[in-house]
Point group: C2
Chain length 333, copies 2
């Protein structure tokens, strides 16, 4: 029993962290300050390696990793982009991250280099069918990501995905940890994820709106106050801006003029591949919020503020512990 201590899971024990809360490596958002802030609060922060430079200039990954390395930290990459710039993994590993998070592609080509470095491999999956490759790659943990997540993702939903993934792992690879992602932004989501069979959670949107995130203030100002009804998942956007995302992934963003026009016309957008690149680049340069992607998930409807990462972690684990303690009475009246 552990009536007054923090929530303990296989994730907190094996990773040596105080709380089962991981920050998603959100491209252009999760830099070293956010990662360090989450880890300092007892979670695990992960710096975004994003597209590994494959789509042009990004924040200086080395500088961000140096900042993060004041604490236990990880680095995350978009796997299909890392294939084009594998040297970025080598560079990241020089900073001795505790873990590498890979998502959106086959992790196996990178598994050996990661293992040899001593870092733990965490593989994010969007379909149950992707778990086998992650297990084959030797993943210490699998993140099962529901489509309610902001940014890139796919079509499963967290609530039914987690117990199904838990059953699958129990049968095929019981030592592999399971982390829930998608739609989790507070202690209710954390407690529910643990009940559903996860060993912890990975959160994007909640940390996207944190003081330490690199998110433009204009984006969080526009998004906070929206309900979860206000986001949409579409493939049209990547097609139009010419980002070569594999067909199975779509992008959840705040609805705007662009999505109103294109969200339901995915096959047409695919035929117009890259047609919007110039226009979109201009809108981005001008920070035209009707055109640029404000990247957040359905959990935006649960946010009211942009607090520090420490305050986010602390308040959610406190809330989750209270809910879990209370619910043993079976009295929800």
């Amino acid at each position: 029993m552990n009536e007054n201590g923090p929530i303990q899971t296989r994730l907190t024990r094996r990773f040596g962290i105080r709380h089962p809360v991981v920050c998603a490596p959100m491209a252009f958002v999760a830099g070293g300050a956010l990662a360090a802030g989450v880890s300092r609060a007892g979670g695990l922060g992960v710096v975004a390696g994003g597209y590994a430079g494959a789509l042009g200039a990004e924040a200086d990954l080395d500088a961000e990793l140096v900042t993060a390395s004041a604490e236990k930290f990880g680095a995350g990459f978009i796997t299909w982009a890392l294939e084009r710039s594998p040297q970025m993994l080598t560079r990241a590993l020089k900073h001795s991250p505790f873990c590498i998070v890979l998502s959106f592609g086959d992790p196996r080509p990178f598994a050996r280099e990661i293992r040899d470095s001593g870092a733990a491999l965490i593989c994010q999956v969007q379909f149950l069918s992707q778990i086998d490759l992650a297990v084959e790659a030797g993943a210490a943990a699998i993140v099962a990501q529901g489509g309610e997540a902001g940014g890139h993702g796919a079509a499963r939903s967290t609530l039914p995905f987690i117990p199904e993934a838990a059953d699958y792992l129990r049968k095929h690879s019981p030592e592999t940890l399971l982390i829930a992602a998608g739609g989790i932004a507070d202690g209710r989501g954390l407690a529910a994820a643990l009940i559903l069979g996860a060993d912890g959670v990975l959160m994007g949107t909640r940390f996207w709106a944190s003081a330490e995130a690199l998110t433009p203030r204009s984006h969080t100002d526009k998004a906070i106050g929206s309900t979860g009804d206000a986001t949409i998942r579409t493939k049209a956007f990547d097609a139009l801006r010419g980002a070569p995302w594999p067909r199975e992934y779509s992008f959840r963003i705040l609805k705007n003029k662009l999505t109103a026009e294109w969200a339901d016309r995915e096959s047409e957008a695919l035929r117009s591949f890259g047609a919007l690149s110039t226009e979109y680049a201009r809108a981005r340069a001008q920070n035209d919020l009707d055109m640029v992607a404000i990247v957040c998930g359905e959990a935006i409807g649960l946010l009211r503020d942009r607090p520090s990462a420490a305050s986010i972690v602390e308040s959610m684990v406190t809330q989750a512990a209270e809910l879990l303690r209370k619910s043993s009475s079976l009295n929800f009246t």
Copy 2:
């Protein structure tokens, strides 16, 4: 405290039922035998009035309601279809249902007749923005349905939708009950839904594969053993078969030849409205499982069998109670 009794919620107290489990009024699936089976087991069964006859022949609603009325029961309708055949509500109310469940449309035109009959009104919503109309109609309970649900639904996901709806109701209509739907098929889903702030759950897919459901055996035989990856939500299907569903709703079914061809071509399908009606009617007559809709949600990946409704209710409430009792230790290792 209630250490050895069943789970108690505002729903079980106010509705006078033993378990906070409601059976979804699935068109062509939830007849009187299923409704009575769920209610006899301590949940609440709801007979499907479906399209209220607006789309042609259905099971004899009166006969099904007579069967259900051996127990406390409800009747459910697709609201936009009921507008075309409002007399079906009057007929249903003659059987003195405990509640009427309305989904997919404005409930207000029917609220008075329902209230005057003494039945409770339950309104299912797919967006946070629909809650106001339901409250205005005097709903005793709101079902917030995530898009992982089988059959008709929309784009929200259950895990972030429930806490957001709970917050909204607490602020605007604290007496209104909240029921979670979408992706829930066992005690893990029930316990998670309660932790997220729901007063109970409404389940479709799990009861769709029950002994008492009207579901063709060939459909459950084909679906059980599929993972949750195997379903898809699309608007193309209704467009092609000529069912006049409002634009905001789509249909989740098991992927098949038809969805492989059309699922990503929604705007094209809308322009071909009704083009598949004849072909689809033929496929349905022949029970061609590559063409007909096998209607289930992502929770299909959690099913292994087609047990009785009583066994479903009993095992899930037992599992949920165990999980909730255990989790108060905060030890998930």
